[in-house]
Amino acid sequence: MASNGPGTSQEEFKWKARVSWVTGERSVAYSRNNSFLIEKQASFKEKDPHPSAIEYLLGALGGDIAAGFQTVAPRFGVSIEALEISLSGQLNNSLTMLGVIGEAGHPGLETIEGRIFISTEATEEKIEKVWQSVQDRSPLFNTLKRAVKLDFSLVIVL
């Protein structure tokens, strides 16, 4: 088996996850030296023991963008004091996910909305440039934008 360790060339690198069903609608994902639990596809309840698949998707996109800002901003000479991203998404028709007969549409996300709150001394113009570069380099942003409308806005918080 090809190792993910040193010596693997970047072109052939493949990311992997192994997901095992645990019980009920719960499964566990293993990737490299980590593991995390996933509860359901999407949940309408107020509380659950673990995040749902759709929340991991939103969280992953947010984590990707946040990390992207950290790598891109210094190249523009921008220092970021605080960064927070709120994400939300609505299914095109959640009734189709529940299997309601006769419902039109699909159970996929229609739009993912995001608010990126940044505290920085940099000008809005400069931050916009950073954000453009973050989008250009982001693996998840580029994957998802081909499938779903990504509606993100920047808010500078002093």
Partner: protein, 394 residues
């Protein structure tokens, strides 16, 4: 106490901060400049705010709360046992994380931008909360001065984050004791120094009566568990009345509003003061400083139909909305005051905006220019009203 004319025009306290001041505030928070360096910058800003009020001929002025980050968490650095925790930090300790997320979404703010003065040890006064602010203002103006202070209920509610505070105090009531003592001392010192008007801010009181079943948006209150409103209101009355002991030699007021963080009226609370009347009438304050420029506050009658309120209280009548860009015509303000005069004698009505013009320093809701124009509109209205009283129309 200095003499005030009929229909004194005043503000509720805060004024929008300049970008220079905001930058200095952040530098102070990050330890890049000292308190003294910050105060020097703030002094200039306070003088500017005073000049604007004097130009508008405001009768009772404030320092615009220029030295504060907001109307209550500024006390943190003046007290021991209190630590400013951002909501991002609080999210780790509070149980109802989903509830928090709803609040943040409604407010459309990041958790890192909101901090709460949280009780982490025995709370004691290290230095005066507002006396220094008052003394500087006194040195810069001849006009009567209003000093605003966070109320004891607001402070207790905000500081009491159970998960953290119960390691120090057995109960919210025990913490309230120390808060009362601190405010009593502060108020006595302000009276000694000659303050003309002391206003307590207790915005959370509306949260108690208007939000059953709604998303709670008063961050300072949302941190503590929801309690029975009647009990909480009784608790608030007892705290406020103890703070107000021995205040016969100064004019006192209590400001209550429905929130002032957004220009979107729909996100702010709504409902008349009626459910609060039985409590307000028992408060040992001279004046109620209330919102009446927004329809969300309900009709004057809901408050002034009460004989106890009419007999026992002055009214700081909110006649301009601090959040809108349009300046209210002075004729409309005169009309509103005339309505109040159906219930109260002329000597009992003050004119003020519904709330501060810059409640949270990093969330300005209006510009200094619009705020000044609104002050001028109130002064115009007061002038008309004074003339009417002096020479009644035939």
């Amino acid at each position: 106490m200095k003499e005030l004319p009929l229909f004194p025009v005043t503000t509720v306290g805060s004024w929008p901060r300049s970008s220079t001041l905001l930058r200095a505030q952040r530098q102070k928070q990050r330890g890049q400049i000292s308190r003294a360096e910050f105060d020097k910058i703030a002094d200039t800003e306070v003088r500017e705010v005073l000049r604007r009020q004097e130009n508008a001929e405001v009768d009772l002025v404030t320092d615009g709360e220029q030295r504060r980050d907001n109307f209550y968490s500024f006390v943190t650095e003046k007290l021991s046992g209190v630590q400013l925790m951002t909501l991002a930090e609080m999210l780790e300790v509070v149980e109802d994380k989903a509830g928090f997320e709803r609040i943040l979404e409604t407010l459309d703010v990041p958790a890192f931008a909101i901090s709460n003065p949280t009780c982490v040890g025995p709370v004691k006064r290290l230095s005066p909360l507002t006396l220094d602010e008052y003394l500087y203002t006194r040195s810069q103006t001849d006009r009567p001065i209003k000093v605003t202070l966070p109320g004891p209920y607001l402070l207790t509610r905000a500081m009491w984050v159970k998960e953290v505070a119960q390691k120090v105090y057995p109960s919210k009531e025990a913490l309230g004791e120390d808060v009362v003592n601190i405010l009593q001392t502060e108020i006595q010192e302000l009276i000694q120094a000659g303050a003309d008007f002391i206003q307590l801010d207790e915005p959370v009181l509306t949260e108690l009566v208007f939000t059953s079943g709604q998303t709670r948006t008063f961050m300072c209150a949302a941190l503590s568990a929801r309690a029975d409103p009647t009990e909480e209101l009784e608790f608030a009355v007892s705290l406020i009345n103890r703070v107000m002991e021995n205040t016969e030699n100064v004019r006192t007021g209590l400001h209550i509003c429905r929130g002032n963080w957004s220009q979107k009226e729909s996100t702010l609370l709504s409902g008349s003061y009626f459910p609060l009347v039985p409590y307000l009438s028992r408060l040992k304050v001279q004046q109620l400083v209330l919102e009446y420029a927004t329809p969300r506050a309900g009709e004057l009658a809901a408050l002034l139909d009460s004989p106890e309120i009419r007999a026992g209280k002055e009214l700081g009548l909110g006649v301009v909305n601090p959040r809108t860009p349009q300046v209210e015509p002075s004729e409309a303000i005169v009309e509103r005051v005339r309505e109040a005069l159906q219930y109260l004698p002329a000597g009992k009505v003050f004119l003020n905006p519904d709330c501060g013009f810059g409640t949270f320093s990093n969330r300005p809701i209006n510009s200094g220019e619009v705020a000044s124009a609104k002050l001028k509109a109130m002064v115009e209205a007061a002038t008309v009203l004074r003339q009417e009283i002096a020479a009644p129309a035939q």
